[in-house]
């Protein structure tokens, strides 16, 4: 048994950390947060040059052909640095959907463009409030054309293409849903940027009017493919969340060591120490659940659905816990715009929702555990 990343993978993590420390300091995140850019184009280009965008894309499609364990270590660093780029939408959602269900031609068209940084992709799933469910998908798909509205769509205003869930039947079953691939630059879609809880990552509304779309995967298989895509993205996003949680914990620890009150570092008071110890506990539990998710993802294990839900829940809780208590450790300064604490707080709460909120994944986990139990 070796329940750890390999030395090569750890080296890749170090490289990514070094690269992001240089190219993505908090001031780069702020530039997007403050609305000076919709995403960090220089950083995006750099990530492509480093081979990070295509790390899990096979070499025949222009990627590095490394694998998902490598993608997990990079995801962790992206979360740690709060990278203000459409990495999760493009790599965890769009690329994974195409890898899972795309035709040879679709793979050939989009995967090399993702790896090289030329194409930004996303998943257009939600239609207003609610968690992922076949009933929530109203967007009409017939005769290769889409009509309806999707929101929120992560990075929808900057994306070049989208994987779109559409309704192709009305039997009330999962088979009513199909997936489509849409070139957002070809017309028929109007994108409107929306105000987000975390402005360092954009959200949009996409309105489809007789928009041309090609099927992704077999008709009626949409829900089944989507579930697999969400599971895979859940593991990858969980690594981002753990990276963010760890950084928030470090910020709190560092501040507790430096800040003096009542004549001593505030980190010497048990009320503060114990709060930080509890943050460490949640971050550690989440990391361990994530490792299991990484193992299941990289081996395509039958345990993936359960492992993904556990990683997602644990990492969501840990990031939220560490981000909010990081502000608490910082006291008043933690509540200023000037300090970086709120950027982690925003990201923690935004990433908690994007793939479906906690209650969705809690429900999924128990369903999956019951299935295993019954088997």
């Amino acid at each position: 048994m070796n329940f750890d990343f390999s030395d090569e993978q750890k080296q890749m993590r170090d490289e990514a950390r070094k690269f992001l420390a240089e190219k993505c300091p908090p001031k780069a995140v702020r530039a997007v947060l403050d609305g000076h850019a919709s995403y960090d184009k220089e950083l995006w280009k750099g990530l492509a040059e480093m081979g990070f965008l295509g790390v899990a894309i096979p070499e025949e499609f222009g990627g590095a052909g490394a694998g998902h364990l490598e993608l997990c270590v990079i995801a962790e660093e992206m979360g740690r640095a709060l990278a203000p780029v459409p990495f999760s939408s493009t790599v965890y959602l769009a690329a994974e959907a195409i890898l899972l269900a795309g035709s040879a031609a679709q793979k050939k068209k989009w995967l090399p463009a993702i790896a090289s940084g030329e194409a930004i992709g996303t998943l257009a799933l939600f239609e207003g409030k609610g968690n992922p469910s076949p009933d929530g998908i109203k967007l009409a798909a017939s005769g290769g054309s889409l009509n309806g509205v999707k929101k929120p769509v992560p990075d929808g205003a900057i994306a070049d293409f989208a994987v779109v869930t559409g309704r192709t039947g009305s039997t009330g079953r999962d088979g009513d849903i199909s997936l489509f691939l849409v070139d957002l630059k070809a017309g028929g879609v109007e994108a409107k940027a929306l105000t987000s809880l975390d402005p360092s990552r954009g959200q949009a509304e996409l309105t489809f009017r007789n928009c041309k779309a090609e099927p992704l995967g077999a008709a009626g298989e949409g829900w089944s493919i989507l579930t697999q895509v969400l599971d895979r993205a859940a593991v990858l996003m969980a690594f981002e969340q753990v990276g963010g949680a760890d950084r928030a914990l470090e910020m709190g620890r560092d501040y507790a060591l430096d800040r003096i009150a009542f004549g001593r570092p505030i980190g010497s008071f048990q009320a503060v120490k114990h709060m930080l110890a509890d943050m460490y506990v949640s971050a550690t539990l989440a990391r361990s659940n994530c490792y299991y998710g990484a193992w299941a993802l990289s081996t395509n294990a039958s345990e993936l659905p359960e492992a993904a839900a556990a990683a997602r829940i644990s990492a969501t809780q840990a990031f939220q816990h560490c981000a909010k208590n990081n502000i608490q450790v910082h006291g008043g300064m933690g509540f200023t715009w000037e300090f970086d604490c709120h950027m982690y707080y925003r990201r923690a709460n935004a990433t908690a929702l994007g793939l479906g909120s906690l209650s969705y994944w809690e429900d999924a986990l128990i369903d999956r555990m019951r299935k295993k139990n019954a088997a």
């Binding site: 048994m1 070796n2 329940f3 750890d4 990343f5 390999s6 364990l69 914990l249 620890r253 507790a256 060591l257 001593r264 570092p265 980190g267 010497s268 048990q270 503060v272 120490k273 114990h274 930080l276 110890a277 509890d278 460490y280 506990v281 550690t284 539990l285 989440a286 361990s288 659940n289 490792y291 299991y292 990484a294 193992w295 990289s298 081996t299 839900a309 556990a310 829940i313 644990s314 809780q317 209650s359 994944w361 809690e362 429900d363 986990l365 128990i366 555990m369 019951r370 139990n373």
Partner: protein, 415 residues
């Protein structure tokens, strides 16, 4: 990243599995599987006798104290082999409870500090379970603050004379030997005047009184010492260096990973799977599912944290204090899990008798035993201090008695 055995590990697993299948006391397997915190007795059998017999059988075949050297009754196994054994031993491992302190703490301390003749004499019967050991550290005046202990050992020729009282000694009533931390110099700061010994629990002047715990059971004892004579040859480490010796003992406690801590989650999940509420099965209730999911990821988080530690161990790295999280998380979790299981039972949750209560009253027993899990072996607060100081590098608590001679430290809070 993989969970696969190497060929050597697979061979070891197959050998262990076959031996366990042929030798384990299978008549108790079901009962052991169902036993939970606060509820570990066997019906119609004395669990101590069953445990001793199983341990002896393992020792005779070379399966006891796997990580110990062969000459002291072990197998010289690797850390990963020890973990594989625990996985294969499964529910029968619950029979090792009475040996945990002896094998996990007393034995390693003896190995590090006793003379060769003593090691050869005392360790093999400790490994085989023929002799049971306990650890005499805590005192009424020193629980979390162990170094505040007051039991005196005074030199008298080649012997030491011990007077004082220990408390919370697990298993003292069935132990043959114990390791004992005493104060040998009250005129210096508290950590610098301690000395460690081992002693025969049947020595004249040793009196053991069981403590009736809050849950009505008696797993712990008070141990009184009145002019108890201990030969100097039974001293462990240098005079007044007992604090450092005790750190070895406590560090070994942390090394005993992989055994798994009890969270109550499997019991609760099983209970919710069969429980019917007024409006349908409990497992289909939204609130129930949300609670279960949060506890499920804590339980799996602990499981995989322990697997990460095992991986580190098998690479020859030493697991650090981060393993303190197991006890911290599981202790309060099992308390919450038990309270929730009662909540789901509604008014009937108040019934605690095996005949009338839901799930034979196991959650009621768990609830009443649980407060102890948050205190024994280091309170939640001590565990958080350990994490904050040793993992996160935060400053130690301000210790006002650190440089004060022990006999000048105040002993009363008021008046």
């Amino acid at each position: 990243m993989n969970f696969d055995d190497t060929p050597q590990e697979a061979a070891f697993r197959a050998e262990a599995k076959a031996w366990i299948a042929a030798n384990a006391p299978k008549q108790y397997e079901d009962e052991l599987k169902k036993s939970s915190l606060g509820r570990t007795a066997l019906k119609g059998a004395n669990i101590l006798e069953v445990a001793k017999a199983w341990q002896k059988k393992k020792a005779d075949a070379g399966w006891a104290c796997l990580h110990w050297p062969r000459e002291y009754g072990g197998r010289g196994a690797t850390p990963i082999e020890r973990v594989i054994w625990q996985q294969e031993e499964g529910a029968f491992g619950k029979l090792s409870g009475m040996f945990i302190i002896g094998h996990g703490m007393c034995g390693p301390t003896m190995m590090a500090f006793a003379g060769e003749a003593e090691k050869k004499r005392y360790l093999p019967p400790l490994a085989s379970g023929e002799k049971v050991w306990c650890q005499l550290f805590s005192e009424p005046a020193g629980g979390s603050d162990v170094a505040g202990l007051r039991t005196r050992a005074e030199k008298n020729g080649d012997d030491w004379i011990v007077n004082g009282q220990k408390i919370w000694t697990s298993g003292a009533h069935y132990s043959d030997y114990g390791i004992l931390l005493t104060r040998t110099d009250p005129n210096v700061a508290k950590h610098r005047g301690l000395t460690m010994f081992f002693l025969d629990m049947k020595s004249p002047g040793v009196e053991i009184k069981p403590i009736k715990q809050a849950n009505g059971a008696s797993d712990f004892n008070e141990v009184y010492f009145t002019d108890v004579k201990i030969p100097d040859s039974q001293r462990l480490g240098a005079v007044n260096d007992g604090w450092n010796v005790s750190l070895t003992t406590l560090m070994n406690e942390r090394m005993s990973i992989g055994a798994g801590v009890s969270t109550g989650f499997p019991e609760l999940f099983e209970f919710c799977n069969s429980l019917m509420l007024d409006d349908g099965p409990a497992i289909e209730d939204r609130n129930v599912r949300s609670k279960l999911a949060s506890w499920a990821v804590k339980a799996s988080g602990l499981k995989y944290t322990s697997m990460r530690a095992i991986s580190a161990l098998s690479k020859g790295e030493r697991p650090g204090p981060e393993n303190s999280i197991g006890k911290l998380v599981a202790g309060s979790m099992i308390q919450d899990v038990a309270a929730y299981a009662l909540d789901l039972q509604g008014a009937a949750g108040v019934l605690a008798g095996a005949e009338d209560a839901e799930a034979t009253g196991k959650f009621q027993a768990m609830l009443l035993r649980a407060p102890g899990t948050r205190v024994e072996g280091g309170t939640d607060e001590i565990m958080r201090n350990i994490i904050a100081e040793r993992v996160l590098g935060l400053p130690g608590d301000i210790r006002v008695d650190k440089d004060v001679p022990f006999n000048k430290i105040p002993t009363k809070g008021r008046g």
